[in-house]
């Protein structure tokens, strides 16, 4: 049966799916520790120590596509979002963060209809 769920007020945490893109032809190997370091660097340059000391967790990290799921407190969401968006240079390499999805529920990041592909089966 269909049931409408309306959540009022925000939850404590927000989950964010981000991808780190480099220029074409750059081969950068970034592991989970370096990835977190880059995020903290971005936060610190934009909003200083006040933001970089807040909770930023990397829950899942996929090394091949440099995609990660972050868990951040809801009050810092817009700050971290803007810090990541404005980050453009990592040790002289041009890079950019792409924010793919944001949700207060982790479950919502498990599926993405935008990535769905239809398979045509011929009989």
């Amino acid at each position: 049966m269909y049931k409408k769920v309306v959540s009022k007020g925000c939850l404590d945490f927000c989950y964010m799916k981000v991808r780190l893109d480099f220029e074409e032809g750059t081969h950068a190997h970034i592991d989970i520790v370096a990835f977190k370091q880059i995020i903290l660097e971005a936060a610190q340059s934009m909003f200083g120590l006040a933001l970089s000391c807040s909770l930023i967790d990397v829950l899942i990290y996929e090394k091949s596509s440099r995609t990660a799921v972050l868990r951040i407190p809801n009050i810092n969401l817009s700050k971290i979002w803007s810090a990541l968006s404005l980050y453009s240079n990592m040790n002289g390499l041009s890079c950019a963060f792409r924010i793919l999805q944001i949700s207060p529920h982790l479950m919502a990041l498990s599926g993405n209809s935008r990535l769905m592909s239809l398979e045509v089966v011929e009989h």
């Binding site: 610190q44 934009m46 909003f47 200083g48 120590l49 006040a50 933001l51």
Partner: protein, 161 residues
């Protein structure tokens, strides 16, 4: 038109056991606060402090080590949070002790006058010889006699029109 909302913070510079430094300038104090703001609140904090009403040191009293800092009302919390982290002005160890927060220069000046007056009796206990004691006593009586006039400058004129 809406006027710009400012906040004025009165701080006392504590040098520990050092004597008052003669080469203390408003610019040096500003730079010390701005450096700390950059570390604590990053580019965003620094950029906000440069937008009018920007962060400025409005008043510095080198003999009593009082400093008045102006900032915008929105940024007041940020500035206040970085004041305790200021550790050096130039090459000198220092810390800032926030005394008062006000919305206008006028009320800040009133506070400064009141503060200076309250500090005079404390000077009395530090006197070593009768000459110093007499000098402070004179200053005390002067301040009592002068208070009406000093505050009169700051008070709005109450003459009936």
């Amino acid at each position: 038109m809406v006027r710009f909302k400012n906040r004025y913070i009165v701080c006392k510079l504590e040098f520990g056991c050092r004597v008052t430094l003669p080469d203390l300038t408003q610019d040096a104090v500003y730079r010390a606060i701005a450096t700390e703001l950059q570390v604590l609140h990053g580019d965003y904090g620094t950029a906000c402090a440069r937008k009018y009403p920007n962060l400025t040191v409005q008043y510095l009293n080198p003999s009593t080590n009082l400093v008045m800092v102006r900032c915008s009302r929105d940024q007041c919390k940020q500035i206040q949070s970085c004041l305790p982290f200021v550790k050096k002005i130039g090459e000198v160890d220092v810390f800032l002790h926030t005394l008062h927060l006000a919305g206008t220069i006028r009320s800040c000046m009133k506070f400064i006058v009141r503060y200076h007056k309250s500090q005079l009796p404390l000077l009395m206990s530090e006197c070593r010889n009768p000459v110093e004691r007499k000098k402070v006593q004179e200053m005390l009586t002067d301040s009592c006699a002068d208070s009406g006039r000093t505050l009169g400058l700051l008070e709005r004129s109450t003459t009936s029109q």
